[in-house]
Subunit: 248 residues, 2 copies
DNA sequence: CGGCTCTTTGACTGAACTCAATAGTCGTGG
DNA sequence: CCACGACTATTGAGTTCAGTCAAAGAGCCG
């Protein structure tokens, strides 16, 4: 990773000045923190005084009902922040756990407030990030509520691929996908058995090749069509012919 | 409505100074806008230069798939804002429509930015509101993904009741609930036929009395238990014995 | 009195779940 | 080098919750 992932991600929404990129990068001054597979990074009910960003690995937001049912709410990958202002709430309303080994950088409340006060552009970038995160959460509602099991899994692969591409971790149809079938089940509101069967169907139809932790999408447009995937909800930066020549 | 609903709602999360209350209230200076049942207030794909707050009536966020399937993502009631910074995005990623006749107040980008720059407390209040809105959206994912049809409807009634109570529109187990069964179906990821059957079951068990547009919850704790409802995700202001004597 | 919207009911179907067992895979330790 | 356990993936058979299709009531309004 040559570029600081969170800065890379924010820059994907809107142009950041060199100054702003430096400011975001400075947030990571703290010693990086590591968590191993399965560890909670944030636990529901916990009182927070800091927030964090993911530098490496995958995490997931989730909630567990009293009787043990678990819903995974989203996956966090390199560049993703926990809510930048989560410490404004009295306690965490959901948990975040490491899906793989994870490296984070902690950001103190003070650092976040200073940096944002001094950089109105960054403050807006944080808002845009929050708005896009909310949009992704809404799209999960659409998936779970309306899409078939087949479409739901397809859609998740499309989303993850698109998000990883932004931070340079997906290319040529290939990216990591370290999520097991139990997690996939809890993310999509299905059972692991059914996830297994639908995955086989997806493979049979040549839509994906999934050999954990490696995902290959041979024909992205076809998968996107099967998923009713419309990337607009991720608010990709409009193509700027000046700055990026890497598309066609 | 004696108090300006958006101010009342923000104040429910954290203490606002009289100054801040005045500032929020000032946002409504513009002429109120009215929309009649079914009208779109925001349409997906639309470019926004303003945002708005709901003063009266109910609205809903929703998305429609290419083939017509609709997912309702949340209901907006008096005091709710559309995202305060939605104009930062290039286009709306979902639509908002009037569920009943609705009165809104439009807030221009400039007004929002001025007010927030001059009131750091308000800027934080906006963040808290966005965080709570996101938390509600996550809880909808939990409902649709994990709760049974019965629990899902129960949970929705609990949520709405709690939110209306904050702005003084629910009391003694009674509140408005103007949503029809098709909308209820699209909000919970079920079909209208099944919604109908589950509603009858809820009635039979004495958990709700629903005569559109009036909802009566005879025994809130019992309904909350049936829904696995835990109000924590709404981040209610911790009870302050000084200021509010209206409980017990 | 239609005509519209919404709710209710019945009979049938099917996508996804449950339960239960069987196979890989991988790292550890004997 | 193999046995063992832990974890994950796969398969089969039977079940059910919720969906589909179709039609009949209710309530409201012009």
């Amino acid at each position: 990773m040559t570029v600081f992932a969170p800065a890379q991600k924010l820059a994907a929404y809107a142009a950041l000045s060199a100054n702003e990129v430096r400011a975001v990068t400075a947030l990571s001054e703290g010693r990086p923190q590591t968590y191993s597979v399965g560890a909670d990074i944030v636990s529901e009910g916990q009182q927070l005084s800091t927030t964090f960003m993911i530098l490496q690995g995958w995490a997931m937001r989730y909630k567990v009902l009293r009787d043990g049912r678990r819903q995974i709410l989203s996956f966090l990958v390199a560049g993703d922040m926990c809510d930048p202002y989560c410490f404004l709430l009295h306690q965490a309303d959901h948990s975040i756990a490491a899906v793989t080994d994870v490296v984070t950088t902690t950001v103190s409340r003070g650092a976040m407030e200073d940096i944002v006060l001094g950089n109105p552009g960054l403050a807006k970038a944080m808002w845009v990030d929050a708005l896009v995160t909310a949009s992704i959460q809404r799209e999960w509602c659409v998936s779970i509520g309306q899409r078939s099991a087949f479409e739901r899994l397809s859609h998740l692969f499309c989303e993850i691929y698109a998000r990883l591409e932004v931070v340079g971790l997906a290319k040529g149809g290939r990216c990591a996908f370290p999520v097991n079938q139990y997690e996939l089940a809890d993310a999509t509101g299905m059972t692991a058995v059914h996830v297994n069967r639908v995955l086989q169907d997806l493979r049979k139809r040549g839509l994906i090749e999934l050999q954990r932790p490696d995902l290959f999408i041979p024909d992205l447009p076809r998968l996107q069509a099967a998923a009713l995937f419309d990337p607009q909800y991720l608010h990709p930066k409009p193509r700027d012919p000046q700055s990026e020549g890497d598309h066609l």
